[in-house]
């Protein structure tokens, strides 16, 4: 808007306009002073990777409440969801009796994405004051503990299974589930009006519970 106005007022200072525009933009967004035009592409990618990594760290150590809510991105959820779907998918080959009854790749994908969208929509409908993609982002990043539990379970599954190892897998999955629920509640818990907190938390609990069920049920 202001660009158009200044262009019409003062058309010969175009370079000056551009620097002013970028400066104003960067100050409004609260970003540090850098120019993305003439930096190496490696820096650009590394900055995004670092942002994703920082969010992962905040999920594992959920102390700062607002850290994950500042800027949302869907990179983390995409990575986690693809990874979990790849590990969890079962083969439906009935021919050589290797049908392990697991979900399809797409089914895990649908459960994670549609599930987090429905949970978010539920909290919006209950009157929570959080934007749609912020909530989807938080729910997706908070899958990290369950994904770690899945990796550990997968490693345990290499050796011959016994009851003791099943109990170990169960404990690991439970820790992942509780961690994920606790982290997402730390980030999303304040966005609900009082008296409805339990109604908004219950679907989150159910979401991670179902994913943890997939993790514990995954066998070779």
């Amino acid at each position: 808007m202001y660009d158009d106005v200044t262009y019409t007022v003062d058309p010969q200072h175009i370079e000056g306009e551009m620097t002013i525009g970028t400066k104003q933009k960067s100050t409004t967004l609260g970003e540090p002073e850098f120019n993305t035009l003439d930096e190496p592409i490696r820096d650009t990618i590394l900055r995004d990777v670092r942002a994703v990594g920082k969010k992962f760290f905040h999920v594992l150590y959920p102390k700062e409440k607002k850290s994950l809510l500042k800027e949302w991105d869907l990179w983390g959820p995409l990575i986690l969801c693809t990874f979990m779907a790849m590990i969890l998918q079962g083969s439906t080959d009935a021919a050589d009796n290797s049908n392990d009854g697991g979900p399809e790749f797409a089914e895990v994908f649908v459960i994670v994405w549609i599930g987090s969208m429905v949970v978010t929509l539920n909290s919006k409908l209950l009157g929570g004051n959080i934007s749609f993609f912020q909530s989807v982002c938080v729910l997706g990043y908070c899958l990290l503990p369950t994904a770690i539990a899945l990796i550990l379970c997968r490693i345990i599954l290499i050796v011959q299974q016994t009851t003791l190892l099943f109990i170990l897998r169960f404990i690991i999955t439970m820790i992942g589930f509780l961690w994920a629920t606790y982290a997402s509640m730390a980030f999303l818990g304040d966005s609900q009006p009082t008296g409805r907190k339990a109604l908004a938390v219950y679907p989150i609990f159910l979401f991670y519970f179902v994913i943890s069920w997939l993790v514990i049920s995954h066998t070779t």
Partner: protein, 322 residues
Amino acid sequence: MDSGQTKNTNSQFISFHDFPSMSHASNLEGQMNTGTSTHQPFNNLSNDSTGIGMIEDLQGINTDKTDAAAQHNFWKVEYYQKFFNVNTNDVLERLKRSMVPHGSDNYLITHIRPNPDLYGPFWICVTLVFSIAISGNMANYLQTASSAKYHWKYDFHVVSYAATCIFLYAWLLPLALWGALKWTYNSRNTEEELIQSYAAPGLLELLCLYGYSLSIYIPVAFLWTIQIGWLQWSLVILATFLSGGVLLRSLLPVITGKHRIIYIAVILGMHLLLAAGFMLYFFHVPSKSTVPVMAELVASSTQTNVLHKAAQNNSYVGSTSS
């Protein structure tokens, strides 16, 4: 947010606040009116707030505005917030009341009708789907754990069967019942209608009632994992008659007439069929564990499953056509 807005309108227009309760006894449309009327900005009308004809004026304005607002807001989240306008205590109370038939008060009239919600029905259905899937797999494991030969694998696709079955039941049956009630209501004479204080329930109320009536099957689903035949069957009977009793008590004042016995039979029969179908299909597979070699028994059990499914399908068709 909603309460704040209603408070504002209350303090400015105490006389107007009575209007939504006038259309209170009517069904879904009435409910929509009350819901959207709280979102109306009445501040611009405060200049000419004198005169007796104000209510009529407001009524006219309100109905016009409600249509416009409803169409305008239809694609927005705020339009649907009125279906989720409940607190934790409301939901807990409704859950409790839907499981056990209570003294003299009518569950539909006293609890559902003032504020029917969709939060409970939706999340009860989702919870029931996954609790049936999880406990069904547990039951299957317990059946096969004794025999070391059989390598047990979990079956994720139970989720899709359970989801199809439950969501069909929770949406189609209220729809069919609502249509049937509306159809038989027209044929009744109006004097009887005037004497009776019970109006025909709206679609939203029926959806809410049926959704909450499924909640008893969630704890029962986990109890069904215990592999004792008579216990499973007695749980089926108990759950059906507890929540079916609440359903019948709520709907009995509405379904007077010559079709009454048919309604009662359909409502209770469908509830029983649902419970028995869950139990037989997801939890009760006696042939696999005891004799894994015999192919005949497996075949017969799958046949019974198919028969049960067919019976359920037939009854769906029957209920929708009636």
